[in-house]
């Protein structure tokens, strides 16, 4: 076996393993009879390391062996890969935020009065951190509760110049079918796989036969529904 073949095997093994491989483990790939010298393997590893120069990956020897790793110079480029999507905001948060927008300055207690339930500290913290609301003062009643108001960032986020660009109550009231058009974040039911996507499916039945791609929630996308049958 020539060195380039050995190199291919070592590279494949290191990229397949997902963990560092010791020299012994690398030798072990070749079976007892045909195993190359350890020295040969080291040389080949050296070649591999050399080939990775000026690339985004490098061969590195760590405590438990050799591994192929991503160069740290790449990490800025790769951040989009690890972007996590925070869970959607709850209905409660949206209500609190909307009440602050329409009734500011408003205290937490006043929000609770309207909603009839306690406002969780988490919600308040989230919208404060997001920079959408701020404390604009304190009401002069026992406890001196903070009054909340919206910020410029809130307006920017929703593309409003001024707050009065928000529709009035009567305008909102007319939006009877607003609800139907919009998939609002509901507490997502932990249903079984089978029940999942039932909603999507109605739509799908209508479109059946047409090539369709559904957004995937968990299991990956449904691919083309077009009949793959070839006669």
């Amino acid at each position: 076996m020539d060195q380039s073949e050995i190199k291919n095997i070592l590279e494949a093994a290191l990229l397949a393993a997902g963990r560092p491989l010791s020299l012994d483990q690398l030798v072990g790939l070749f079976g007892k009879r045909s195993a190359p010298e350890r020295q040969t393997l080291k040389e080949v590893l050296g070649e591999l390391a050399f080939e990775y120069k000026d690339r985004g990956i490098e061969l590195k020897e760590v405590g438990s062996g050799y591994r192929i790793q991503i160069c740290s110079s790449m990490s800025d480029w790769l951040t989009p890969l690890w972007e996590e999507r925070a869970p959607r905001y709850s209905r409660a948060l949206l209500e609190v935020l909307s009440l602050i927008a329409y009734r500011q300055p408003i205290t937490r207690g006043e929000i609770e009065e309207v909603r009839g339930v306690a406002v969780s500290t988490n919600i308040v913290r989230t919208i404060l951190e997001r920079g959408w609301v701020r404390v604009v003062g304190h009401r002069d009643v026992p406890g001196k509760p903070a009054m909340l108001g919206t910020t410029k960032r809130f307006l920017d986020y929703f593309g409003l110049k001024r707050l009065d660009e928000l529709p009035s109550l009567s305008e909102i009231k007319d939006l009877e079918d607003l609800n139907a058009e919009l998939a609002l974040p509901e507490p997502s039911p932990q249903s079984g796989l089978l029940d999942e996507l039932e909603e999507d499916s109605r739509e799908l039945i209508e479109q059946a036969g047409v090539e369709t791609e559904l957004p995937d929630e968990k299991g990956g996308d449904v691919v083309s529904l077009a009949h793959p049958e070839v006669n």
């Binding site: 990229l15 935020l97 909307s98 300055p105 009231k173």
Partner: protein, 299 residues
């Protein structure tokens, strides 16, 4: 090679007997012990053309994926054309298997029995003499069965094809390199204005506010300005009244600010002080209403 190419229309002849089995010499002498009992009679010998080593029978039967699979096997094993099944013979063999399975107390799926009945029915239909006149239109009683067999066979083959595809875990694996520095960025959820409006609508509807307050044009700009005035007041002790107005905003802006101040006053959120008639008016946050520095998110 094939002088057997037939006339245009297949001749539906009945093959009533099994292909003659000769060469019995090769039969292993395993038949001393009965391996099955049929209607009280010990069976020491399987039908020759069904010979399976007895110890393997169970595995053999388990290997079938249902009656269609078993039928396909019988047909293929005899090198018969699926389009010209000698129904009588196949039925006979099939029945043998069913019997065997039954005798071995092999858990027999109902589908196998349904198939037996189907075969028997086809067989009897083929035995009936068909009127010569309507011969042309008469559908071959085997047609439906043949269709099902073919249909099943295609997917049996498709399954093999899929099994032969190069697949993860078995044939290939995802190549990965270690990421030493992984910066996780959390993307904050987005909301739309519509969602916000719906939330508001529902909160308000629940709270009955529509009925109590009657629907009115909410002076939102006043509300917003109330917040702004409060914030601009928070740092200083007294602010001159006139400083709260921005003439660049024009008449409407001035009016809004004025209304906001009145509203704040009404809610006792600010104090307005005038030390002498026609003197400068000063405004300050009402005692106890100052914002604590702690949580200001935006300026």
């Amino acid at each position: 090679m094939s002088e057997l190419i037939g006339p245009r229309k297949p001749e539906l002849k009945l093959v009533s007997t099994a292909p003659p089995v000769t060469g019995e010499a090769g039969l292993p002498a395993q038949d001393e012990m009965p391996f099955a009992v049929v209607e009280g009679e010990p069976v020491t010998e399987l039908p020759r053309d069904l010979y399976i080593p007895p110890h393997a029978l169970k595995v053999f039967l388990e290997a079938f994926e249902g009656p269609l699979d078993l039928l396909l096997y019988l047909i293929r094993r005899q090198n018969l054309n699926i389009l010209d099944i000698p129904i009588a013979e196949v039925t006979k063999q099939y029945a043998h298997y069913i019997e065997l399975m039954h005798d071995m107390e092999f858990e027999l799926a109902g589908e196998y029995l349904v198939m037996a009945a189907t075969l028997a029915e086809i067989k009897s239909r083929m035995l009936l003499p068909s009127p010569v006149a309507s011969d042309e239109d008469e559908e071959d009683p085997r047609a439906e069965l043949v269709r099902r067999l073919q249909e099943y066979q295609r997917f049996k083959e498709a399954a093999q094809d899929i099994n032969a595809l190069e697949r993860l875990e078995r044939d290939v694996s995802q190549a990965t390199a270690k990421v030493v520095e992984r910066r996780v960025v959390t993307k904050l959820p987005d909301i739309t204005l519509k969602e916000l409006l719906i939330a508001f609508k529902e909160a308000i509807e629940r709270s009955d506010m529509f009925t109590r307050h009657h629907v009115q044009r909410e002076p939102l700009s006043v509300r917003e300005r109330m917040s702004q005035v409060l914030v601009s007041l928070e740092s200083k002790k007294f602010t001159e009244f006139s400083q709260l107005f921005d003439s660049a905003e024009g008449r409407t802006g001035v009016t809004v600010t004025f209304l906001a101040i009145l509203e704040l006053l009404k809610e006792s959120l600010i104090d307005v002080v005038q030390s002498e008639p026609y003197g400068p008016i000063h405004v300050r946050v009402a005692k106890g209403s100052e914002s604590q520095e702690a949580i200001t998110a935006d300026a």
